[in-house]
């Protein structure tokens, strides 16, 4: 239908004409931000792809807003004709994250979904390759959620070589020791060789 070149403003108008509930905002030059209800996302993406020529799914991401108990899904679509990007955002429930797959629109979305399923625990209905992707034999909560403590996990599971904790707070150490004298820990570790 409307295949003429669209700018930020015409694009905004067009989206608002079709999707009344969408909150559209021009973030900056070449970036249009669209906020939508979760169930309208798929129709919107399909519309943007087929009728507004946003052919390129540049990015698909998930942000954990643990304070609001919500996940934010972010889709970036790029139009090669208009050189314009729309950023589509929606929020889904964090305790029971469900969404529909995009892989029939863009085959590469499957990869993003597999990663998001593994890292955030979002379930994408219709994607049959969900499962082990990057991690192996992972038990427990998905690691990219904000409430997963990676330091604690690392300390519990992996051997920590002594000496590490000295250098941990680099800021304090650096500000404490001026450039003149060599700090004690540096002396110690420059002499000691790693053996065993």
């Amino acid at each position: 239908m409307n295949r003429k070149e669209c700018t930020e403003n015409t694009c905004t108008e067009q989206i608002q004409k079709i999707f009344h509930t969408a909150e559209v905002e021009v973030q900056r030059e070449k970036r249009v931000k669209v906020k939508l209800r979760a169930d309208l996302i798929l129709p919107f993406l399909a519309y943007a792809k087929d009728y507004m020529n946003f052919k390129h799914l540049a990015h698909f991401s998930c942000v954990d807003w643990i304070e609001d108990n919500e996940f934010e899904l972010v889709f970036m679509l790029w139009s090669y004709e208009a050189n314009l990007m729309i950023m589509v955002k929606t929020r889904i429930d964090r305790s029971n994250p469900e969404f529909e797959t995009l892989s029939h629109l863009w085959p590469q979305a499957e990869t993003y979904e597999r990663e998001m399923h593994e890292m955030f625990g979002v379930n994408f209905e219709g994607n049959n390759r969900l499962g082990e992707f990057i991690l192996e034999d992972w038990e427990g909560i998905p690691p990219f959620r904000r409430d997963f403590n990676t330091i604690k996990y690392s300390q519990e599971n992996f051997y920590q070589r002594p000496g590490r904790e000295d250098a941990q707070n680099v800021r304090e150490t650096v500000s404490k020791h001026s450039g003149k004298e060599v700090p004690d820990f540096a002396k110690e570790y420059s002499i000691r060789r790693i053996e065993e």
Partner: protein
Amino acid sequence: MREKETTLYLGPQHPGITGNIMVKLKVAGDTVVKAETHVGYLHRAFEKLMEQRTWIQCFPIVCRICVPEPDPNEENLARAIEEIEVREVPERAKYIRVMVLELARLATYGLWMGGQSGSMGLYTMPQWTVGDRDYIIDLFEELTGGRIYHMYIWAGGVRRDLPEGFTDRVLKVLDYLESRLPDYDNLLFNNAMFRKRAEGVGIIPKDKALEWGVVGPPLRGCGIKHDVRIDEPYEIYDKLDFEIPTAEGCDVWSRALVRRQEYEQSISIIRQVIDKMPGGDYYNKIPNPLTWKVPPGEAYVKTESARGEFGYYAVSDGSDKPRRIHVRGPAYVHGVSLLEKILVGANVADVSFIMNSLGTCPPEIER
């Protein structure tokens, strides 16, 4: 009747694989019937680690996301922060950044030429190109102190000014690299055997290329002229005069041609940058990095790396640490969904050949 299918694991320990990644192949005779990429061997959870680090501590982390070409990562993060913070970058810093990015592109193409020819058994080429790449690495070392990881491009500009006489040395290296091009041509690009092996191999359907998320040289190898440097010019690319080479054919050969021409374009871009380099400040100083807080906001920035569009999505919630930084490397699409598709029907002998031509870089798939 169908031939008996065998399963062939290519990697993670395999000399032909482009890093620590595994491609599980179902093979009937010599033909690939099904390919599955298995990643995760390099997963360091950068995106998680960055949520634990302050903004300035993220710079040493992001450059490790793509090992052959770390600079687009730094550039992306710096630009994302600048966009959220609305921080001005001095003109000189922009020029220096473009110079560094293009030098990194040259270095990556040197490595790529080596990998591409190494994957088909031409072992003289990697010896030459990787050896020549070291001259660029030496420049980086002088400029930034690091051979591979530079941490040079920071929010607000670059970390330090160019050393005295640096541009002359860059020009000298460029002259040398240009003088080596005829040798490369004779050995690789004019070699009838390379052409014979590369033509008609690893074809990406042209009508599907955009939809499948193909970017960078593979896209331009399909005859589609798209490049972030002209589509959405960042830094000073709109002030420079360069061409975006394309080639028809959609196969390994056309991708090789595109990269070969971009090599020359990069050399000319660096020459222009050095020619136009303004004086002045190189760094718009950020506040004390230890207590540096970035205002709430979000940004999506992208850079044309040697392998294609490199995107960063950064979200700040106003604290001294990022809320989320999500990285979209070109290999994320090329190495998984695209590779799985175009490997079907290929010869077993061409698997690593095709992987190299797509520029599959495992660390940026799983980060």
